[in-house]
């Protein structure tokens, strides 16, 4: 048994947690899927490798999973950040979940937020060169080309809301698209509805998104919605120094301000 499996087994044996949310084999050799290990002898189901991409923090909030009892969650860096961001947004309480950090050496259970904060302090973050290049490539297009690009991308959107469902920060019990007094977002997946939905979603995640990429991974139409989030995350970082999910401090960039914030665009 590897360290992850052993750690999970120990936690379950000690009854420290009731379930370990992790990655297991999927229906294709290249696929991984979330598994919910509840018995110590099932721990060998757990695997972790480069193909494990889903942000499992989502399940920490899912009522059916919550009902299983206290959970340990196999956490890549984005997942850890998500947990802290969920904490700042009062969605989870301290010591209610154990994080099993993977991808950066030893799997040492992090049992409280302070431990996650400490762990994250030493983990590299920021967008990869490739991600930055993708963003820059779109930015360097002309205005008309950007419009054409997004029009073509968004025309494929069928409003299945997989992006929303996969995003652990999209935990609203009634999403803005379901608010119908007034009906902010047109219900049909027409151009306006798709544009509004994706722009609104990006804005609602601005300063909160920890850039795990689950939304784009989930999109059955392969729309690069993560680029919208990446743009705003980059801007929020550059303009306001916002780096969500690194601490439980309440520092949502759009709920605070500096008198010296940039305003050359304002006449």
């Amino acid at each position: 048994m590897n360290e992850l499996q052993q750690t999970a087994k120990d936690l379950l044996e000690k009854n420290a947690v009731a379930v370990v949310i992790g990655y297991g084999m999927g229906s294709e050799p290249s696929l991984r899927r979330a598994v919910f290990v509840r018995k110590p002898d099932q721990a060998p189901q757990l695997i972790f490798d480069e193909s494990c991409r889903q942000n499992l923090a989502f399940y920490v909030l899912k009522p059916e999973v919550k009902a299983l009892g206290k959970a340990a969650v196999v956490a890549r860096t984005p997942t850890l950040r998500t947990l802290l961001q969920l904490a700042t947004e009062n969605q989870i309480t301290d010591e209610s979940v154990v994080a099993l950090p993977v991808g950066n050496g030893s799997v040492q259970p992090l049992t409280n937020f302070a431990a996650i904060e400490q762990y994250l302090a030493n983990v590299p973050r920021g967008f990869t060169a490739q991600e930055q290049q993708e963003l820059a490539a779109i930015k360097s297009k002309t205005l008309a080309d950007r419009w054409a690009f997004w029009k073509s991308e968004l025309s494929r959107c069928i409003k299945c809301y997989a992006c929303r469902a996969a995003c652990p920060m999209c935990y609203c019990s009634k999403c803005i698209v379901e608010v119908n007094q007034p009906q902010w977002v047109p219900v049909p997946s027409d151009m306006l509805g798709n544009l509004e939905w994706n722009v609104i979603r990006a804005m609602h995640l601005a300063g909160r998104c920890i850039s795990c990429g689950s939304c784009a991974d989930a999109c059955p139409a392969h729309i690069r919605i993560d680029l919208l989030n990446q743009l705003l995350a980059t801007e929020a970082m550059q303009q306001f120094g916002a780096e969500p999910g690194l601490s439980v401090r309440k520092d949502y960039a759009l709920a605070t301000f500096k008198p010296t914030d940039k305003e050359e665009f304002i006449r």
């Binding site: 947004e89 009062n90 609203c172 999403c175 803005i176 605070t256």
Partner: protein, 663 residues
């Protein structure tokens, strides 16, 4: 369908000069939901208002649009008219046909078209208006005054004299604050204690004032009219009821070498002590950090000698909970110490002192009995250099503001020195002289001209010791930037006035905002200078910004009159333009997901946590709740709320959306 009445005002020729009012009325009559549409010469006149009142009754109107001048002008008029006509006043909206249309456009078809649009926009809005009722909040007519300096004293006395209860909380063992430490006050040179102490006594004896000294604010909850404060009364280690203030205890206390805070460390005190002879209350406290019994477990001499057996070594801090309707923050300031200045030796030269220390040296009740003596050797200095702007106006030191009082007190210090040491030489290094104030400029001129104090315009770059003299090196910028060097026996730094070290903590306790220098922020720099952004909390004195005594007293009285105004009614009545959190049935109870990101965006701290529980007390969820007594209706939370669970009455999402749809 709602039944909307539209009333188009000609405003004489003001509107009808460029807008075809009859046409607007005709087209408006066709809008779905409009059942009545008329135009009239002057809607605000009595006959005009009667048109509205009658139509409300005859046509059973459920909403009214008055298309006339700016709502900032006549909205109250027409809302009142609607109320008199039997319609909830908040079912009336105004379309601004005058300031925003007829006056700014030529007589063109497009102008009338715009007028029609403006009416339609308001018709669509008013269809979604809901009756609103003003919000009444009860008021507890007791004020909490934080700080017993001159600001707190003045505010407390004014409020108390207006007939309201006051609770004053002072951190030190005595009230009086910094003013009690001062020698004479500029520009009149009257004795500070002489004018202050009668006020201190008045506070102590006032039937409306409850005084807690050696106490601090622990916690503040609630909102305007209804705060709940917890005060920590630190253990004084004496029974105040039994203590007569005879003073035997501190005469007998063996630990006599403790540096006196009141005397700015230039004098000493005992472990059981009163800060100064005129202290109010004039009863000692035991400084447990220096008391031999508390530190070493032995002594108890004071206890032995106390004639009334008032010593209580086992006394605990006491938490007192009080309900108050308003809070006045008057927590004062501190001055930077001499160790703040590397160029002046980081405080290693005992004869470089602060202005406040000079006050104690010059004070008749001070450690030297009012004789100016060097702290190092007790010699009377023959030359003193006064340095203004020590730290102030120096962004490099992190203090970019002007401390405001230094120019004046430095002039006063130089003058007092010259009065006491006639042959002495006084130099004042300054950047500018800021002497705005009644008789201030004259006072400075007197210092320079009559008392022959040498004013040198320039910065002091360095001070160092040379054979027992302090060499003050600087530049006289008025003499072609000529370097200047003075050998002084004493240097007085007019160190910057800064916020109390725990000002930030206090501000967070009170949930009020503060600026980058940790001074408390007033609600509006011009128009609401003594209110804070949290309704019901007021500010007075130097905790808001550096200021001198007259200004402090003026602000304190202003704050007091605001409090008295608030207390003049039993209930506070507010416009219902406030935010509300929507509620639904179980199992969700509200679309609010309790992320509380709105909480920090609210400029008024009006967002509270509401726990929704099952009948047997199990927590289901925590959702936001707006304290309607505190909310001012800006709507920042509404824009931030992702689920649109918060809405702003009077400017609801439905209303604004309808306006956009009708564009």
């Amino acid at each position: 369908m709602p039944r909307i009445g539209v009333f188009i005002c000609h405003c004489g020729e003001n509107i009808s000069g460029t807008v075809d009012c009859a046409e607007v009325a005709k087209v408006s009559a066709e809008f779905p939901g409009v059942v009545h549409s008329v135009d009239y010469k002057y809607m605000c006149s009595d006959p005009g208002q009667n048109l509205i009142k009658n139509a409300i009754q005859e046509k059973k109107l459920t909403g009214v649009v008055v298309a006339a001048c700016s709502p900032r002008m006549h909205e109250p008029t027409f809302r009142r008219a609607c109320a008199e006509g039997g319609l909830n006043p908040f079912l009336c909206e105004m379309a601004n046909l005058r300031e925003h249309c007829s006056w700014v456009h030529e007589k063109l078809p497009a102008t009338t078209e715009k007028a029609i649009d403006l009416v339609r926009i308001m018709v669509e809005k008013v269809k979604r208006n809901r009756p609103l009722f003003s919000i009444n909040v009860p008021v507890t007519k007791t004020a909490l005054v934080l700080g017993g300096g001159i600001a707190g004293i003045q505010a407390a006395l004014d409020i108390a004299n207006a007939g309201h209860k006051v609770i004053m909380v002072e951190r030190q063992a005595s009230i009086g604050g910094h003013m009690a430490q001062l020698s004479e006050t500029f520009p009149t040179l009257d004795c500070s204690q002489c004018i202050l102490t009668p006020r201190m006594v008045e506070v102590a004896q006032h039937p409306n004032i409850t005084l807690y000294t050696y106490a601090e604010l622990e916690k503040l909850d609630g909102f305007i009219g209804n705060f709940r404060a917890v005060i920590r009364k630190k253990a004084k280690s004496i029974d105040e009821k039994l203590c007569t203030g005879c003073g035997v205890c501190f005469q007998k206390c063996p630990n006599k070498k403790i540096l006196s805070e009141f005397n700015t460390h230039l004098g000493t005190r005992t472990a059981i002590y009163v800060p100064f002879p005129q202290a109010v209350p004039n009863k000692p406290v035991i400084d447990r950090e220096h008391c031999m019994y508390f530190q070493k477990g032995k002594c108890r001499i004071c206890e032995k000698f106390c004639p009334t057996k008032a010593i209580r070594f086992d006394q605990q801090d006491e938490l007192i909970e009080v309900n108050v309707g308003a809070v006045v923050a008057a927590t004062g300031y501190e001055v930077k110490d001499t160790d703040f200045f590397p160029e002046y030796g980081y405080g290693k030269y005992p004869d470089i002192i602060t202005g406040l220390q000079f006050e104690r040296l010059a004070s008749a009740s001070g450690p030297t009995g009012g004789v100016i003596k060097r702290p190092s050797d007790g010699r009377i200095p023959e030359t003193i250099a006064f340095i203004a702007c020590a730290g102030s106006r120096d962004p490099a030191k992190g203090i970019s503001y002007c401390s405001k009082i230094c120019c004046m007190y430095t002039a006063k210090h130089a003058m007092l020195y010259k009065h006491k040491v006639h042959q002495g030489k006084a130099y004042v290094f300054y950047m500018d002289i800021r002497a705005g104030g009644k008789m201030y400029e004259e006072f400075v001129r007197r210092t320079i001209e009559e008392d022959e104090v040498h004013y040198v315009r320039g910065r002091v770059s360095r001070i160092y010791d040379r054979d027992g003299k302090l060499v003050v090196r600087g530049v006289d910028t008025l003499l072609n930037a000529k370097p200047i060097e003075i050998e002084a026996d004493m240097v007085v730094l007019a160190t910057a006035m800064v916020a109390q070290p725990d000002a930030e903590e206090l501000a967070q306790k009170m949930k009020v905002s503060y600026d980058e220098n940790k001074f408390l922020s007033e609600a509006h720099p011009k128009l609401r200078p003594v209110e804070m952004n949290t309704a019901g909390i007021f500010v007075a004195g130097a905790c808001q910004a550096p200021k001198d005594i007259p200004e402090t007293v003026a602000q304190a009285s202003a704050a007091a009159s605001k409090v008295a105004g608030l207390f003049s009614k039993d209930e506070l009545s507010r416009e219902p333009v406030v935010a509300v959190v929507s509620r639904t049935g179980p199992p969700e109870f509200s679309n609010c997901v309790g992320c509380f990101l709105c909480e920090s965006a609210c400029p008024y701290q009006a967002i509270e946590h509401e726990e929704i529980k099952t009948r047997d007390g199990k927590l289901i969820k925590t959702v936001a709740k707006i304290n309607q007594g505190v909310c001012q209706g800006c709507g920042t939370c509404v824009a931030l709320c992702r689920t649109k669970s918060i809405d702003l009455q009077g400017f609801t999402n439905e209303q604004i959306f309808a306006e956009l749809v009708s564009l």
